[in-house]
Symmetry: C2
Subunit: 109 residues, 2 copies
Amino acid sequence: MASSLANTPEPPYYAVIFTSLRTEGDRGYGKTAERMIELASQQPGFLGVETARGDDGLGITVSYWTSEEAIANLKANAEHRLAQEAGRKTWYADYRLRIAKVERAYGKD
Amino acid sequence: MASSLANTPEPPYYAVIFTSLRTEGDRGYGKTAERMIELASQQPGFLGVETARGDDGLGITVSYWTSEEAIANLKANAEHRLAQEAGRKTWYADYRLRIAKVERAYGKD
């Protein structure tokens, strides 16, 4: 899993903001979540990912992409679709997926 | 702190994606973070907020806004500016702030 901040280029680029509330128990979730991040990072147009889940079960994963086409490619990937299906049925009590165009960005320095 | 997903309206709207790596120790952080979320939620144009921090110290807070003007108002708030300053100096080893226009959104149902 990513445990550092993403070093994205100058905007514009795209962000996929995935927020979720987990159900109780792992049931294969951790392994698949890691695999999905690995899969995403191998796709064309991937710029980086940041992920966090708090003790209350609320998780946020933001992945960054060069274009909308790159996001569409990920969605079309068969392995990703299977994981989405399992997510809907088993792992998530609730979730939101938002696709956004990053227009401005600032860092610590 | 928010521990549920934000029920945002149909896009378009704006997202402020704040990702950070905490330094060690609280040093007033928790109280100020709660206060900043309270402050944001009282601003005109506020649509919701989602926040998570993992055990590795990486945190993500995404707040949602009707317009860029609403985000500018928050940035201009004196109390918010003081907290930003403390964040830069004391609380964050690193951070990124990204302002993005949400173009599409999906939920579990």
